[in-house]
């Protein structure tokens, strides 16, 4: 009998809000899929505009090289236009986009006879790929922030691509672990272990700042 009672007001409102957000996202994905099937240039313009920073950030993290990331950025959108019919709108557009970008990086590394993503960093990584926002409100903050910036740059350039990739997808793009598994094509357990190892490798760089 208790089960038949209506849910508490706050819960039903939250449930409605969440379900309408999910429904909206699904509808948007279907619209994107339809537009891509038509090769609608207006839609592609809007998508490029909307995902520009996220896609470039992911590629810079993955390749460790800004110039290469910019080249693959353009290739990714061309591939999106060419293979748009393959996107069915059931998955989130951003996970599909990141998966395409990832495949292009792998293709590119194969063309250059590089064995894996890790080897990309050794070949093409540059120290200035990871620029950090420099808003410095006070001299004390300026010193701390400069230290932090240098720490992040050093730590990221030392990390291998697979760990950097998972870190950016989780903490920048805020994808769930399942979505990261879809993008990378790796099992969930592997994604988790890459995330732990990435954080573990990043952590020592902040030991001095903390002390």
């Amino acid at each position: 009998m208790r089960l038949l009672l209506p849910r508490p007001r706050i819960n039903s409102q939250m449930y409605l809000a969440v379900s309408s957000a999910v429904e909206w996202t699904l509808r948007e994905n279907v619209e994107i899929a339809r537009g891509l099937r038509r090769r609608d240039p207006e839609l592609l313009d809007r998508l490029i505009e909307r995902f520009q920073h996220r896609l470039l950030r992911y590629l810079v993290f993955l390749t460790g090289n800004r110039d290469l990331a910019e080249d693959i950025f353009q290739e990714t959108w061309i591939r999106v236009m060419e293979r748009g019919r393959q996107y069915n709108g059931k998955a989130k557009f951003d996970t599909w986009l990141f998966a395409i970008a990832r495949h292009l990086v792998i293709d590119w590394s194969r063309k250059k006879t590089t064995a894996s993503l890790e080897a990309l960093q050794e070949q093409f990584g540059n120290e200035h790929a990871f620029d950090v926002a420099s808003t410095e409100p006070s001299p004390f903050d300026a010193i701390t922030s400069r230290e932090n910036r240098e720490n992040v740059q050093t730590a990221l350039s030392r990390l291998d691509s697979l760990h950097r990739e998972v870190l950016v997808l989780r903490f920048h793009e805020e994808l769930s672990l399942e979505e990261i598994a879809t993008v990378t094509g790796a099992p969930l357990s592997t994604v988790k272990s890459r995330l732990y190892r990435g954080l573990a490798a990043l952590k020592p760089s902040f030991a001095e700042v903390q002390q």
Partner: protein
């Protein structure tokens, strides 16, 4: 000693899981108790938080000229692909029409040319040649129309691309 190290390792794994939100209530309680008693793991937690916060400060943004040139390239390719499809459309249409024409009319055409040839006492080779010409006429007409339309379509599309990418 091994047991103590395992506790620290477990605490770090749970810390990472806590950042994901994939941690059970029981694990939360265990982690809180462990952190309350372990200064080393508390420091690790602070370092991990600092690492994640610092990671979020990495600001990589696409330059506007990169975005604009990508949009231009994609737009041009879209129009070129569409133009290719439009150029192919008359060829496909004429091919379909010609194939249908050939399939439907072959027996009747052959019979009528045969009858006419014998009635007018025309040599076999001649009426058979005439049959072939009549048989191929729709396909040849379709191909001629497609060839005639091609430059017009190309010109129209080129100007469209110029306008779109200007």
């Amino acid at each position: 000693m091994r047991g103590v190290r395992n506790h620290h390792e477990r605490a770090f794994e749970l810390l990472c899981a806590a950042f994901d939100g994939s941690i059970t209530e029981q694990e939360k309680v265990w982690l809180a108790e462990h952190l309350a008693n372990c200064a080393e793991c508390r420091r690790q937690k602070e370092q991990t938080q600092a690492a994640i916060a610092a990671l979020k400060t990495v600001s990589i943004s696409a330059a506007s000229d990169l975005v604009q040139s990508t949009q231009r390239r994609v737009r041009t390719l879209c129009l070129q692909t569409e133009a290719r499809q439009r150029r192919m459309r008359p060829i496909w249409m004429s091919s379909i029409f010609a194939s249908a024409w050939m399939a439907c009319t072959t027996p009747y055409l052959w019979q009528s040319f045969d009858l006419t040839g014998h009635w007018l006492h025309i040599p076999d080779l001649l009426w058979q040649m005439a049959f072939l010409v009549a048989w191929f006429t729709p396909a040849l007409t379709g191909a001629a129309v497609a060839v005639w339309l091609r430059p017009q379509l190309t010109r129209a599309v080129s100007s469209q691309i110029m306008r779109a990418t200007a």
